[in-house]
């Protein structure tokens, strides 16, 4: 148990990303997202999750990709964060994979720019690399924690 970790895998563009299973609350498919005028583009909008209002962050835009052509089926990962309900909009969600801790490596050099900061590191899977998302960076939209006391 202690030398293995479980990740929920997801796809954004060509990237195979992973979020620790424990941080994922649930996965929604085909939810409607209400866009918020004037909000930063990385915020996709608000989701009504059984009466709770969840802020949805577009992971595609967050890693600097253009919007995908087909936006008909939105998949959203609701995160179990303590402070406020948050969700990530992704292209697709895959299986849960189990990896050995010793397979962990620093982010590959091929990752450039902004997206590199978002990645904690990588696990080598059989066919490709699983990039572990650093949620604390991904969810921090302003660099100052999004704090605003105005």
């Amino acid at each position: 148990m202690s030398d293995r970790k479980q990740f929920c895998t997801l796809r954004v563009g060509d990237l195979l990303l992973g979020i620790e299973v424990g941080k994922v609350q649930e996965i929604l498919r085909g939810t409607s997202i209400m866009p918020v005028p004037l909000a930063p583009p990385k915020i996709r909008g608000l989701i009504n999750l059984r009466g709770q209002i969840v802020t949805a962050i577009d992971l595609r835009r967050r890693v600097g990709l253009d919007d995908a052509g087909d936006q008909a089926t939105l998949t959203t990962i609701v995160l179990g964060t303590a402070e406020e309900p948050l969700a990530l909009v992704v292209d697709a969600v895959g299986d849960v994979v189990e990896v050995r801790n010793d397979a962990f490596e620093a982010p590959p050099d091929t990752l450039k720019g902004d997206s590199r900061k978002l990645i904690e590191g990588a696990y080598k899977l059989e066919r490709e690399l699983l990039l572990v998302v650093d949620l604390s960076v991904v969810l921090d939209l302003k660099g100052d924690g999004g704090r605003n006391n105005a």
Binding site: L38, A39, I43, G51, I53, T55, E83, E84, L86
Partner: protein, 752 residues
């Protein structure tokens, strides 16, 4: 904090609560040293803290509380009289204890603060008593009524010993506030202890959220039920309806706290300020048990303290000045909280010098807020409004207490952010009174739903002054451009306009059909929207910090499950330059109607009767104006009712209620008449609908020249806009129509 054990957390919560009441008790004790009960309570508090912290090994805390306890024991035993100096030392000790408790709460340890000084002071007092005890002299029999414990030595000296350190230089304050009138409160708390329970506020928040959801789910069910007609389901839904309503009310009640919970620090606060400012002050608090939602209480706490501080610093004069002005030396500050409909009104008043309008004008001119030409036309009430402007202060010098020019503007912003309002009234040289009106709860807000740029938004009703619907032809005629700013002529005045969809960067600008008149800084402005849909009571849900800074006050989920954003009117006004923009203001030379009608004017609703007679109704009595379908008015027994927002609202036909002067239209039923405008008004907390022929306008009328009314239900007559208007006496009209209206049970409905 996370690792703090439950026993320490409990100790902290209890001690902090007790210390707050101790502040109050000490100040009360200073006024009335003979109250055995209060001294016992103070003693017990410190004793409990001392006992527990010995057990928990907080040595510093134990040392301070031990010395405090010794001094208190002398007072309790009648060997020491409580002088203002000793009180100050004791209050200092309470502060030290509070400080250590805060350290423990934040860091888990007592911190490295140095409390030896306060300990020395306390010990000096203690030693003074000990010495006198050893060589008892003939006690100066100053007060034989001093509290005496059986165990103590009654012969011991009762004169006040000189404390080792005189804390405040002003010894003149020694007889501060001696003239008390009521004995400190009864020990109600101990009786309550048995039947109450400490509940984590987050549990209540969760409950409140869940109930909010339940309300929405219920709304969905009842909406879908209209198409179906399954009798069993309908009755089940009705039960669900009423239970949900009751549950909501109960949960709201659980979140309510008496306002006294935030006023407990006030006597101490006033005393400290009195000492530092060299003034003599008496504070009178009324309506302590007025209940308010916990979150509202938190939101208004600092503002209230600010107003009190303002009253002491700016309002009240020094004892000498008061003497010269022929006033009692002791200044009076009164704080009064009352329920008024769905709101709570808190008044903070002082009998000080009032507002010096000349000084305000002087300041306003030097700060460039107005031009000398503009000043001439301003009424006193309008001039007084300047004190709510950012950075405005009339204090001659910056004092320790206030006068930094940050103040009333912040208070006003705070009040507005929770949907409240603040007004001020001042009599020169006599008094100043601030009046705060705040909603009972922040969780549920009534909003109007508007459409703009193809989207739906909610707008808090508290912010809305008026709604204007533009006809197609009106639109071309009504909206003009003045220096590039679109304006609308509203009753001859220019109303600057802001297009909502433009402000929000939405597409689909151009279909605007309605104007929502909102209150800006000192002047109203209009928000152009496509249409105005509906009004609703909604549950506000906050937006996360990632969406802060946007012009939204929150979001809500409507009955159909869709999310709707709640607009933040102030932010929209700010973004559009309608708030705090002096340039735009200067452009509009004529300030729009101020929040408070100018002195002597009263805002009234003008009505037109079926015979073209004019009537006026005090607008404070009116809660809403509705256009109802004539068919929706039903007859129950002798009375008319209408189903309104889920309740049965009694309706009174104004034309029939008033004694007719002519008999022409007497026997008409309301459904046949063309009057379907209903004014929803409130009398003694009961709502009723007033069926009127036609609603004309809302105006500020000068009601100083009145003549007596000529028929029942009419208070007086008065000329408004060149026509004679009968001013209606609402209560009398209702009684004419339905003599039992006020005595019959259940007339008002609960919130949705």
């Amino acid at each position: 904090m996370g690792g703090m054990s439950a026993i320490i957390a409990e100790f902290l919560a209890e001690s902090i609560e007790n210390l707050d009441s101790m502040d109050q008790d000490l100040v009360a004790l200073e006024k009335d040293p003979s109250s055995t009960e209060v001294i016992e309570r103070v003693f017990r508090t410190i004793h409990t803290i001392k006992g527990t912290c010995g057990f928990l090994a907080f040595s510093k805390l134990e040392a301070v509380t031990h010395s405090t306890e010794s001094v208190l024991a002398h007072i309790r035993d009648g060997q020491l009289e409580l002088t203002p100096e000793i009180t100050t030392t004791l209050l200092g000790a309470v502060d030290s204890v509070r400080e250590i408790l805060a350290q423990i709460e934040q860091h888990g340890g007592e911190g490295d603060g140095d409390y030896s000084r306060i300990e020395r002071d306390l010990e000096a007092i203690d030693l003074g008593v000990q010495k006198r005890k050893k060589k008892p002299r003939a006690a100066a029999k100053k007060r034989s009524s001093a509290p005496v414990k059986p165990a103590s030595d009654p012969a011991a000296g009762k004169t006040a010993p000189q404390p080792a350190r005189v804390v405040t230089p002003e010894t003149a304050k020694r007889d501060l506030d001696r003239n008390d009138e009521k004995s400190p409160e009864d020990p109600v708390h101990s009786a309550l202890g048995e039947s109450s329970l400490r509940v984590d506020i987050s549990v209540l928040d969760l409950l409140m959220n869940l109930v909010g959801e339940l309300v929405l789910a219920r709304n969905q069910i009842s909406q879908n039920l209209n198409t179906d007609s399954n009798a069993a389901l309908t009755s089940a839904s009705q039960r669900l309806d009423s239970i949900t309503g009751e549950l909501q009310e109960a949960v709201m009640r659980a979140r309510m706290q008496p306002i006294s919970s935030i006023l407990s620090t006030l006597p101490r606060f006033v005393r400290d300020l009195a000492v530092t400012s060299g003034k003599q002050i008496e504070i009178d608090i009324q309506g302590q048990d007025t209940d308010l939602d916990k979150s509202v209480l938190e939101a208004i706490k600092t503002s209230l303290l600010h107003l009190v501080r303002n009253a002491i610093d700016h309002g009240l004069e020094t004892p000498e000045d008061r003497g010269k002005a022929g006033k009692p030396e002791v200044g009076r500050i009164s704080l009064r909280a009352t329920h008024e409909g769905g709101s709570v009104v808190i008044e903070v008043g002082d009998d000080g010098r009032g507002l010096d309008s000349e000084r305000i004008v002087e300041r306003a001119l030097s700060a460039g807020l107005v031009t000398p030409e503009e000043i001439v036309d301003l009424s006193r009430a309008q001039i007084e409004q300047f004190v709510f402007r950012p950075g405005f202060s009339t204090a001659r010098e910056v004092t320790n207490v206030s006068g930094r020019g940050v103040g009333l503007d912040v208070v006003r912003a705070n009040m507005e952010s929770i949907g409240g309002a603040i007004e001020m009234h001042s009599e020169p040289l006599q008094s100043t009174t601030f009046r705060i009106k705040i909603p009972l709860t922040l969780a549920i807000v009534s909003v109007i739903l508007v459409r703009s740029g193809g989207r739906r938004f909610a707008l808090p009703q508290a912010a809305v002054a008026e709604l204007v619907r533009l006809g197609r032809s009106d639109k071309e005629l009504g909206i003009e451009k003045l220096h590039g700013v679109p304006v609308y002529r509203l009753r001859g005045r220019l109303l600057p306009l802001v297009t909502l969809s433009e402000q929000l960067g939405l597409d689909g600008t151009g279909g605007e059909q309605s104007i929502i008149v909102l209150q800006g800084d000192n002047r109203q402005f209009g928000l152009l929207v496509d249409s105005i849909d509906d009004s609703q009571e909604i549950v506000v849900k906050p937006l996360g910090p990632r969406l802060a800074g946007l012009p939204f006050a929150g979001a809500t989920i409507l009955g159909d499950g869709s999310i709707t954003l709640i607009l933040d009117v102030l932010r929209i006004g700010l973004a559009a330059g309608m708030v705090s923009d002096e340039r735009v203001r200067a452009l509009m030379a004529d300030p729009m109607t101020p929040t408070i009608p100018a002195a002597g004017l009263k805002r009234v609703l003008l009505l037109q009767g079926a015979d073209d007679e004019r009537m006026a109704l005090d607008l404070t009595r009116v809660s809403r104006l509705e256009a109802l379908d004539p068919g929706s008015i039903e007859r129950v027994g002798d009375n008319l009712v209408v189903q309104y927002r889920g309740t049965i609202l009694p309706v009174i036909d104004l034309q029939r209620a008033l004694p007719e002067r002519r008999t022409s239209r007497r026997n008409q039923t309301p459904t046949e008449s063309d009057g379907t405008s209903v004014v929803i008004c409130t009398v003694e907390d009961r709502s009723c609908g007033l069926l009127v022929h036609r609603i004309l306008d809302i105006v500020d009328a000068d009601l100083s020249k009145l003549t007596a009314g000529s028929r029942k239900g009419v208070e007086a007559c008065c000329v408004i806009d060149g026509r004679v208007n009968e001013i209606l006496d609402l209560a009398a009209v209702i009684l004419l129509a339905d003599p039992e209206f006020l005595t019959r049970g259940e007339a008002t409905g609960g919130a949705v």
